[in-house]
């Protein structure tokens, strides 16, 4: 089994610090909560660790959550595991599929080489997640994890609409007497337009409509877990493995039947704007 489809959409991160989640790490424990914030510029890093030392991260979710997806975003881990709490013991996830295919015996990697790990698994309801990390991709480095995400998938595009991500840095400034601009650029804000033109896949239209109906923010992963050949000749900003954003739909849901024939496929534009989860 492998991961299928294109752009993926998930519920918001169900283990955020702002929602009451707690997290601890074997070393640099005070920094552990940086793994469950919303910033891509912050990360937990171990202290005094090497490839003979196992770091254990224990993540207490705000409340018992039903999840079927786990992501470890922007990290340097080579050998690691992830388990969930049954209520009385740590257990392996079942029916696990990662970005390189099916895994046997739960989430357990020994030679991971990408910057982001993604796992689909049989749904579980749990209040705790544990990640253990031993080796780093460059040997004996401090372990580093930027973001941990647990969530449920909302859907995956099986077709290929035109997706145009935009990363804008709003600028504030005024022109000085010299005529030169005194300005400061704020942090990146992600937006994307998704254009379905004569889109053949009804399920994608239904998914887009369901995203429009949501009031809460959701996660958007345009690459859908795919990278490199044969999927992408070049990776652009917004389509990387590390590029997950909490978004909401913006504007109206404006679907039309092509040539006004109700048996035809539809045209449907969808706008996404980065939002607070």
């Amino acid at each position: 089994m492998t991961i299928t489809g294109g752009a993926k959409f998930f519920d918001r991160n169900l283990g955020l610090y702002k929602d009451g989640a707690g997290i601890s790490a074997t070393t640099n424990d005070a920094l552990a909560k940086l793994m469950i914030d919303i910033s891509r510029y912050t990360a937990w890093e171990s202290s005094g660790s090497d490839d003979t030392t196992t770091e254990t991260i224990t993540w207490d979710l705000p409340t018992s959550r039903t999840i079927d997806r786990l992501l470890i975003v922007d990290h340097n881990l080579k050998q690691f595991t992830a388990q969930y709490w049954t209520g009385s013991a740590w257990a392996d996830f079942s029916s696990v599929v990662g970005i390189d295919g099916a895994l046997v015996g739960g989430i357990s990697e020994t030679a991971f080489a990408d910057s982001t790990a993604y796992y689909e698994f049989a749904e579980v309801t749990t209040s705790r997640i544990q990640v253990t990390a031993t080796k780093t991709q460059t040997a004996d480095q401090e372990k580093q994890i930027t973001t941990l995400i647990v969530t449920k998938e909302l859907g995956t595009f099986s077709g290929y609409p035109i997706i145009a991500p935009t990363l804008n840095r709003p600028e504030v400034g005024k022109f000085a007497l010299s005529g030169r601009l005194q300005s400061a650029k704020r942090g990146e804000i992600f937006t994307a337009t998704i254009t379905m033109t004569t889109h053949p896949t009804v399920a994608d239209n239904v998914l887009a409509a369901s995203l429009f109906d949501r009031d809460e923010a959701f996660l958007c992963w345009l690459c859908g877990g795919r990278r490199g050949s044969p999927y992408f000749q070049t990776t652009i900003k917004g389509f990387g493995l590390d590029d997950l954003y909490h978004v909401v739909t913006s504007g109206a849901h404006a679907a039309t039947y092509v040539s006004n024939r109700y048996i035809n496929p539809i045209d449907l534009p969808v706008s996404l704007v980065e939002a607070l989860p």
């Binding site: 955020l16 610090y17 702002k18 640099n28 005070a30 920094l31 909560k33 940086l34 914030d37 919303i38 910033s39 510029y41 912050t42 990360a43 890093e45 202290s47 930027t146 504030v172 400061a184 650029k185 704020r186 942090g187 109906d213 949501r214 009031d215 909490h246 607070l276 989860p277």
Partner: protein
């Protein structure tokens, strides 16, 4: 389908006879609230202590609200119409406006009473425009009768006597346990307040008692000192917050509070002053005259208490937040505000972490902006304005405390982002 929330509801409780109210009716469908950004829907609601700059003791403001009632069925006509909501009178009907939050829970954002003299019929549009008066209008409709107050009465007893009358208590909730003044002295000459409106007499008593009056979300009259309510502080976070707690839409009217600082207070000619503060900020004097206080000792005590409260300038500003984030807040609630510059890594990767960054190797982050409100500062809410048209609220805050060095939370928050530890970490 999306959850139905962020809606307003209007409840009406009319009089069935003099001083007796009937059953509460949900009249939302007959009030123009379906498009709440339109004129004639629900106007702004405002509750504020010490409103107005360059003064204090200007007391509680609970602004009026306009409601536009659709009258094609005669529901908003007077009692002479059989279908009217009003069996006795359109005047003094209780109005309660509620807001439904994201969780579907309704909470009251405004209480008032209808005012017949300001009611206008719009015949062409079959509508009736009501001016729903703030609850203090009930207090304005009374005057202080002879004998209601007596010489020797404490300020608290006088305030209770003015509030605890049927015309007020049928509209508002009164409990003696909620009346607690900061400075409780005796009224020397009660006759000075006879024939004043109840509101004017209350304002004078409250000023002398260094206290404030407001009506809480439950409709109860509260009289207390300006001290914050204590307990947990509500958090307001700016764009720099890494955890996604950002809920500040904008900040306006930020100032040091000097406009409301007075280092010399004169009451009935008795002066209380602080030379240290006048040396630092210049002489800032305010003058009060209370006809019901004839004792020079009492006048001196009142001046000293006012001076203690207002000698130090305290930061004030207005936060704009979403209506949802303003729900459940009350006047004098504690607030924490964490607002600062946004940070970006200088090398495009990760921000340096205090205690972990290496001096000489890691780079200071790029900061965007310079305005900062540290989370160590403690603030209290002195005004809440709700704006249905925009779905937002403006929260007016003032730093707590009474000296130049207080008004801080006891446990300081150590920021995680900043410089490497000089002398502790190694050079590259």
């Amino acid at each position: 389908m999306s959850t139905d929330y962020n809606r307003y509801r209007v409840l009406l409780t009319p009089l069935v006879k003099a001083n007796t109210y009937g059953t509460t009716v949900d009249v939302t469908q007959d009030v123009d609230v379906s498009d709440w950004i339109a004129d004639g829907g629900i106007g702004e609601t405002n509750r504020e202590l010490d409103e107005g700059d360059y003064q204090f003791a200007s007391q509680y403001v609970f602004g009026d609200v306009k409601l536009l009632g659709l009258n094609h069925k005669g529901r908003w006509s007077g009692p002479e119409v059989a279908t009217s909501y009003f069996p006795y009178s359109r005047d003094l009907a209780k109005v309660e406006i509620q807001f439904q939050d994201r969780g579907g829970t309704y909470s009251t954002i405004f209480r008032g009473v209808t005012n017949e003299e300001a009611t206008r019929e719009n015949v062409a549009e079959e509508a009736v425009e009501f001016s729903v008066l703030s609850l203090d209008s009930v207090l304005r409709k009374n005057t202080v009768s002879s004998g209601a107050l007596t010489n020797g009465m404490l300020f608290s007893a006088a305030i209770k006597a003015l509030i605890n009358v049927p015309r007020v208590t049928t509209v508002l909730t009164y409990s003696a346990a909620n009346i607690n003044v900061d400075l409780d002295l005796a009224v020397d000459d009660a006759s000075a307040m006879e024939n004043l409106t109840t509101w004017d007499a209350l304002q004078a008593l409250l000023a002398a008692a260094n206290s404030v009056l407001y009506v809480n979300d439950s409709g109860a009259i509260i009289v207390k000192s300006r001290t914050d309510n204590g307990g947990s502080a509500v958090g307001f976070y700016g764009p720099q917050d890494m955890f996604g707690r950002e809920n500040i839409i904008s900040i306006s009217s930020y100032n040091t509070g000097l406009h409301r600082a007075f280092n010399s207070v004169v009451v009935n000619g008795e002066v209380a002053s602080e030379s240290d503060y006048s040396d630092k900020f210049g002489a800032r004097m305010i003058d009060f005259t209370f006809g019901f206080v004839t004792s020079t000792v009492s006048a001196g005590l009142i001046a000293a208490r006012m001076l203690r409260e207002f000698k130090a300038p305290k930061i004030e500003f207005i936060l704009e937040v979403s209506a949802n984030d303003a729900e459940g807040l009350d006047l004098l609630d504690l607030a924490l505000v964490d607002y600062g510059p946004q940070l970006r890594p200088a090398n495009g990767d990760k921000l340096p972490v205090y205690g972990a960054a290496v001096y000489g190797a890691d780079l200071y982050p790029v900061t965007i902006g310079s305005f900062r409100i540290p989370s160590q500062y403690a603030f209290k809410i002195i005004g809440i304005k709700k704006i249905p048209a925009s779905g937002t609220a403006q929260i007016k805050l003032r730093q707590t405390g009474i000296t130049l060095s207080d008004g801080l939370f006891s446990s300081a928050t150590v920021g995680l982002y900043g410089t490497a530890i000089y002398g502790t970490h190694t050079y590259a």
